[in-house]
């Protein structure tokens, strides 16, 4: 594989392959920024990959009181799934178990555009056991559900977009684990400045990139041995002798343009950090271009 070198960092001549997804967004508010974030973190726990979690979800950004419908501190959460039905199920379960239960929380639609609606308060209102109250203000409808610390206010519906993309990625390779982590962290930090994207893995980073299939029956994915540094001498490795650690960033976006922008920002951060403090090489994961409709060529994203 040919590679370009920018600021001492080798960029593989390859591309990230990503897939069409269904996605939605919600805004969670609370009496304090801490509790808004707490509700979001709880709701997006165990939401790293659609392979086993049902959805991919993450905290997109923190909102100031001026940006939220009720004037309290808030956060915006994005959620991605492979089907509308699964997205609805995950949204309902996660808001019901993690946001409704969080002290002082309220929940609103976080996306105004979109092809379809998903039930938000319209599904959770039944917790009110008949004491729930609907309040329509202009075009928006809210549910007020009595709970033990007051009322849980939840907008009736949010929107669904079918233009979302899941699986944009960067594979960051370095001479040591600390340097690789430093480069990857810098990339994630830069990507978090981009709107409408999340990096769903822990802290935005995955260390266990996977390949399709397994030698074991029943496992749809298994470790990406070509990128495991401890197997360099044992398998048909994608790694050179200088690489000792590999990390991956997976990016989901409400639109393809957002994924492009995030990958561009991440790549720029890695290149800027340089090879001495960060990564030696950056690649991307794909399936030969046959599975996903969206291809992001690294050479088109260079700073």
């Amino acid at each position: 594989m040919r590679a370009l070198t920018v600021n001492g960092v080798a960029i593989d001549d390859t591309f990230a392959e990503a897939f069409d997804m269904r996605a939605t967004a919600i805004v969670i508010t609370a009496p304090s920024a801490r509790w808004a974030a707490q509700a979001a973190v709880t709701m997006t726990g165990f939401a790293t990959s659609v392979i086993a979690c049902g959805c991919e979800a993450g905290l997109e950004r923190v909102l100031s009181p001026r940006e939220t419908p009720d004037g309290r501190p808030g956060v915006r959460v994005l959620m991605f799934a492979v089907s509308t039905a699964e997205l609805q199920r995950q949204l309902q379960n996660r808001v019901g178990q993690c946001v409704l239960t969080s002290p002082g929380s309220a929940c609103y639609a976080g996306i105004d555009a979109g092809e379809d609606k998903l039930k938000l308060g319209a599904a959770i209102r039944f917790f009110g056991d008949g004491w729930q109250i609907a309040k329509r203000l202009g075009a928006r409808r809210y549910w007020r559900v009595p709970v033990m610390d007051g009322e849980f206010v939840c907008e009736s519906t949010t929107r669904l977009t079918k233009s979302a993309v899941g699986g944009g990625n960067l594979i960051v390779m370095g001479a040591s684990a600390p340097k690789t982590l430093a480069a990857t962290e810098a990339a994630v930090k830069a990507m978090r400045e981009v709107s409408d994207v999340i990096m769903p893995f822990p802290g935005g980073i995955a260390r266990s990139g996977s390949k399709v299939g397994s030698k074991y029956k029943g496992a749809s994915a298994s470790t990406n041995d070509a990128y495991c540094p401890t197997l360099k001498g044992a398998v048909d490795s994608a790694l050179g002798p200088e690489i000792a650690s590999v990390l991956e960033i997976v990016i989901d976006g409400l639109a393809s343009a957002a994924v492009t922008e995030a990958m561009r920002a991440g790549l720029a951060a890695i290149v800027q950090l340089g090879p001495d403090r960060g990564a030696l090489r950056v690649g991307a994961g794909n399936y030969g271009g046959k599975l996903g409709r969206h291809h992001y060529h690294l050479k088109d994203l260079l700073p």
């Binding site: 004037g71 309220a106 809210y142 007051g150 009322e151």
Partner: protein, 270 residues
């Protein structure tokens, strides 16, 4: 563009039905055609030309110069556009309107906003009885839109209100929000006896309480309601005075427990 203007020729000799004078009815009509439209309500024929001097303009905005308590059904059935009345109007102003903006720079008679489904009605003066209420035989009153009364409102404001927002900056008469089905009624001044009488659902905010509160409302204590913040922001578009009341700590009275009992009266902390 200039509004299509109807300048009153003086006090009408009979009650006039101004419901034909809506933007959707007048679009495409010439001044001569408009002048022939009949407004009379008795056997004596009265046309637009008899009652008003017409100045040509864009019928999307209608201006009525000079008001009268005999100008009935102004803006009735209006779907879009704007009607401004420089004076008072009679009964059923804005009745059944589903869109647009009706502004009355004076008082309005009984049944203003009756059966209203959408749009905005602003009354700068006082509103008569049964603001937004149903006529005899109708099961629901106003079902959408926003009504703002800068002055006082008569008895039974918001009677059988089903949806939408009624904002009264002044006082309200007896039985405000009686038999409310849902929706929101906010009263800045003092309300008369028994607000929320037999209401099933909905919200009534009483800025200065009422002369007599029904014992069939249960005191749920004082709260800082998130929903009130949403209401405050929404109400602020029309009335900053009433929006401020929603931002105070609110005592919640649940009722009317003599009926369904899922409504509420909110009393802002003085």
């Amino acid at each position: 563009m200039r509004p299509l203007t109807f300048a009153s020729r003086g006090a009408p000799t009979q009650r006039l039905d101004l419901s034909p004078l809506t933007p959707q009815n007048l679009v495409g009509k010439t001044v001569a055609e408009i002048a022939k439209v009949e407004l009379g309500t008795t056997r004596v024929r009265v046309t637009v030309g008899d009652a008003f001097r017409i100045r040509e303009g864009d019928p999307a905005t209608i201006l009525i110069e000079g008001g009268s308590a005999r100008f009935d059904r102004v803006g009735m059935g209006m779907t879009a556009g704007a009607i401004h009345v420089e004076g008072e109007v009679g009964v059923e102003a804005g009745r059944g309107m589903s869109g647009g903006e009706l502004t009355i720079r004076g008082a309005a008679g009984p049944f203003a906003a009756s059966g209203m489904k959408g749009g905005t009605l602003e009354i700068e003066g006082e509103a008569g009885e049964r603001l937004g209420g149903p006529l005899s035989g109708e099961t629901a009153g106003m079902s959408g839109g926003l009504v703002l009364v800068r002055g006082d409102a008569g008895p039974r404001a918001g009677d059988r209100l089903r949806r939408g927002l009624i904002l009264i900056e002044g006082r309200a008469g007896a039985y405000a929000g009686s038999r409310m089905i849902a929706g929101t009624l906010a009263i800045g001044g003092e309300a008369g006896d028994l607000p929320g009488y037999l209401m099933g659902r909905g919200t009534i905010l009483l800025g200065r309480g009422a002369t007599l509160l029904s014992p069939t409302f249960g005191d749920c204590g004082e709260h800082d309601l998130v929903a009130a913040r949403l209401l405050a922001d929404f109400v602020a578009q029309a009335s900053t005075k009433l929006a401020r009341l929603f931002r105070r700590p609110l005592r919640r009275l649940a009722g009317d427990l003599a009926a369904l009992g899922k409504g509420e009266i909110l009393l802002p902390r003085p």
